[in-house]
């Protein structure tokens, strides 16, 4: 087994609150690895430490054996790590095309001065943009402003922006939050499809989603890992059941 991401004793304290406490975790190349846990378990905090938004209180994050602990978040896409936010996070007044184009361009830049050249110089960026937009099923909306899309479509756009970076590792924070059941199903299918191309670290609250698609599941509660294993192992675990029923 080869791991692409390795977390060593990662912790985060907010004053007296220990939001994440000594978490260890390894993500295998090509797998979907899920982190689940009840509300307030520390999932988002954990996610934000990996993705460079929050500096950890202690511990290390290794990506392909390189120490990336505390790297500024703008550096990560250039190394092959892209993330999708828990709340929809797009560029509202810009078109769907511009939203995705910007992301593709960011990681496709060949020289430091590419951003001063005419837009028409970047044919490959334009082609890649259209391909990604069609992959998430938004081709018919390509010239609409992001703010004009439905909530479900905005989630898809969010995903398209994330994919624009051509990542190797995808970090997803509750991609199905606030989606209607059909849209949730669509998103789950998309994630499954994406896992053929990318390694995915998925943060989720809803158990049934991760059960179907994950290879490994890590369960957090009160900032600590309480269990880890295959979906069926986790399903059987008494500790996990207790945590989710609020008896943990």
């Amino acid at each position: 087994m080869k791991n692409i991401l390795k977390i060593n004793n990662l912790s985060k304290n907010f004053g007296n609150v220990s939001a994440v406490n000594n978490v260890n975790l390894e993500v295998e190349v090509g797998s979907i690895h899920s982190v689940i846990g009840p509300n307030g378990a520390g999932k988002s905090t954990f996610f934000n430490m990996i993705s460079g938004v929050l500096p950890p209180s202690s511990g290390k994050v290794y990506y392909k054996n390189n120490d990336i602990t505390g790297f500024e978040s703008y550096k990560l896409p250039h190394m092959g790590i892209a993330k999708c936010f828990q709340i929809t996070n797009v560029f509202p007044k810009l078109s769907v095309r511009e939203n995705v184009w910007s992301s593709v361009f960011s990681c496709a830049q060949k020289s430091k001065f590419d951003f001063l050249k005419p837009l028409s110089n970047f044919k490959y960026v334009a082609e890649e943009t259209e391909k990604i937009i069609s992959d998430v099923g938004l081709s018919h909306k390509i010239n609409d402003k992001a703010e004009e899309l439905s909530h479900g479509q905005q989630r898809m756009l969010e995903m398209a922006i994330t994919l624009g970076a051509k990542p190797e590792l995808l970090l997803l924070d509750e991609p199905t939050q606030g989606l209607a059941p059909e849209a949730t199903l669509e998103m789950t299918k998309l994630i499954q499809k994406l896992s053929k191309k990318y390694t995915i670290l998925l943060i989720e609250h809803k158990m049934h989603i991760v059960m179907e698609i994950s290879k490994v599941i890590t369960v957090l509660n009160f900032g600590e890992v309480i269990d880890e294993g295959t979906p069926s192992e986790v399903k059987e675990s008494k500790k996990v059941q207790d945590a989710y029923l609020g008896r943990g």
Binding site: P77, E98, F122
Partner: protein, 313 residues
Amino acid sequence: MNKYTIICLIIFILLGPFLLPNATITEMLIFGIVAISTNIMLGYTGMLSFGQALFFGTSAYISGLILLAGFPIFLAIPIATLGSFLISLFVGYFCVKREGLYFICLTFAFNQMFYFIAYVWTEVTGGEDGLVGITRPEFIDTQFSFYVFISILFLTSLYLMYKIITSPLGLIFKLIRENPSRAEAIGYNVRFFKLVSFSIASTFTGLAGSLYVLIHSMVPIDQIHWLKSGDIIFMTLFGGVGNFLGPLIGVVGYIWLSDTFSIIWARWPLIMGVIFAIIVLYFRGGVSELLENLVKKSQSYFKKNKDEKYIKN
């Protein structure tokens, strides 16, 4: 820019000198550079700087001093512009560390600092009296040649700024305005690009300042005062931050109105205040958006009339 705006711009450049006094029309072009460049930062990147007079004024002083020392204008303009660029990197480096209100306050504080230096350093800047006795070089001695000279620099600046905002850089600025944390997450160093935007705006503003000395052959100290920074924001918002040339309309309107009213009534800034309040309250897109909507409405009106005629025939 569509072809109609370009035609309007050309008509304005050609007719302007016949309709307005030479000092007024050249001042409009010079402040046109200021407002359009300020809009790259304000409208495109979403950063409100209350310190742009710092760059305008400092550059005017540098250019004025070089001319007074007897050096040619072809040294004065580039050196003053380069000077504003360097100062903008220094000032901007600190300012872009903060956002929102704190950013505004920082730019304002730097403006005050530079104003104070100009105020007390009387041997160099002339203090309250300003820098006087600058002579215009011979080749731009006449009103006509001076106007041509300023127009060329104006159009060149416009062209360069247009290139910038239509390049990927312009799109990155909009990303920062729309959603800085997302821009960061897709790999853009937001603080760096904010500094770029700040520097572009300030450098062009500096260029304009270096030209300003030529109009009245002097640098009055109020060109570096924070009230001037307020004027710059006023002109930009008045014209409209929604499109590239919008601020130019604001400049023309502002300078024309202030010229007209200041003769009639000494308390004319009061009228400006009222106009500003109305714009901010009811026409967020400024005059340019107002015009755009009018054009759209009249177009659909004429189209409707035409359609009706068709039906009758």
